[in-house]
Symmetry: none
Subunit: 242 residues, 2 copies
Amino acid sequence: MINKNSPVPIYHQLLEYIKSKITSGEYPADELIPSEREFSEKFQISRMTVRQALNNLVQEGFVYRQKGKGTFVSRQKVEKRISRLNSYTEEMIERGLKPSSKLIEFEIIKTDSSLANILKITENDPIYKIKRVRLADLKPMSIESIYVSCELAPNLNQTVLEKSFYEYVNSNIPDPIQYADQSIQARLASEEEAKLLEIPPNSPVLSIDRTTYLRSGKVLEHELTVYRADRYKLVHSLFRND
Amino acid sequence: MINKNSPVPIYHQLLEYIKSKITSGEYPADELIPSEREFSEKFQISRMTVRQALNNLVQEGFVYRQKGKGTFVSRQKVEKRISRLNSYTEEMIERGLKPSSKLIEFEIIKTDSSLANILKITENDPIYKIKRVRLADLKPMSIESIYVSCELAPNLNQTVLEKSFYEYVNSNIPDPIQYADQSIQARLASEEEAKLLEIPPNSPVLSIDRTTYLRSGKVLEHELTVYRADRYKLVHSLFRND
DNA sequence: AAGTGGTCTAGACCACGTG
DNA sequence: ACGTGGTCTAGACCACTTC
């Protein structure tokens, strides 16, 4: 069960072990799981190591703890991933569509004051502007304009953009993507947009502005996307934490 | 600075100490803070205790760590950005607008199969159908149709609906509201909608379908809302939990 | 080689909840 | 009185980064 010579940390092995017991139903919801000392004894590991596994599980929402009573399994009915921040590529694959894109613009421009403010960089700093028509099963789905600081994303080029931008970030920037703020509006497509999206003029579109942040708090990118209303529906979940 | 005899845990005292140094600017953004061993030495506490303070600060978004390099101050504290599930009333107050509403329909109908499926009740069970024009600062903002099982929400009447529906639920149903699934689309207003919303025909609208769930897993309500695109912008946050 | 964070140990005392 | 999670110690070795 636990291999002390594995390169995988012990606390992580234990964490996965407990997770599997929960998802398999062996540890049912609202029930006590073994105490820290029991795990410590059973696997011959330090109690502090057990605590590290359990604390991570608390953070992930799998269990909750009560002083003097023990550690309980959470009622995990809600999939957390519903509102997960995904790239276009990931999202389309999830929807069973084949993502691709057509590059419209790829250039380095100087930041204007508004973008500099959003990206939290200095005005006139160079940034990439990348404009693409996003396709799903080879038909236009959206028009996407991305603004990224050149400093943050060196070596960005057209080849990289064939694949997922988020994937590029994961492999090339040590600072991981943490979250994004989005604002969503309905409006009518402009003439140019209608042409690129291959829809009649004055068709409704869903306009989504997204700013993506890294764990350090740095702004990764600002993104303006216009979706065809007849092909795209945004789905998400909201929680009420009283 | 650190009082070992205080009932406040040492790691918490250290956490607050570092927080204050960050907010005061003494530890500037993107800069290294003292190492774990330095804190340990300086305050004569164990390194594990220092780590507990720092790990909490990482969780709260005040600092981030890099193996082999050190602990850095984040550019901005990540607030609890989980977009909360709010009622129309709560949302408008948050936006600084005065919410009100005009009742269009209030009746008890039999569930059709589609609604029965969504509400997880039996077909032909009685449900409330409530249709209202929602106003903000006395001007139309949206048209909202709510479907609620009569069994779940007894004593629902027009007076109750003057106030927040969620407030009514909080006071009258022991099972608390937990989360909602939403789907969001752009489309053009129908003639009737345009009239009620006081906008020109064929104006774009944001169409939001929401299903609200209670902690027990029961469905509280299904809601179809059509927002004026010129007055309403939906804002939310997404997390990437790798 | 020196410093950093990541992991781990084998103990300890505490406050809390339940019998 | 006993078991629980919460806090804390004083060490240790590792992989990583920088010099």
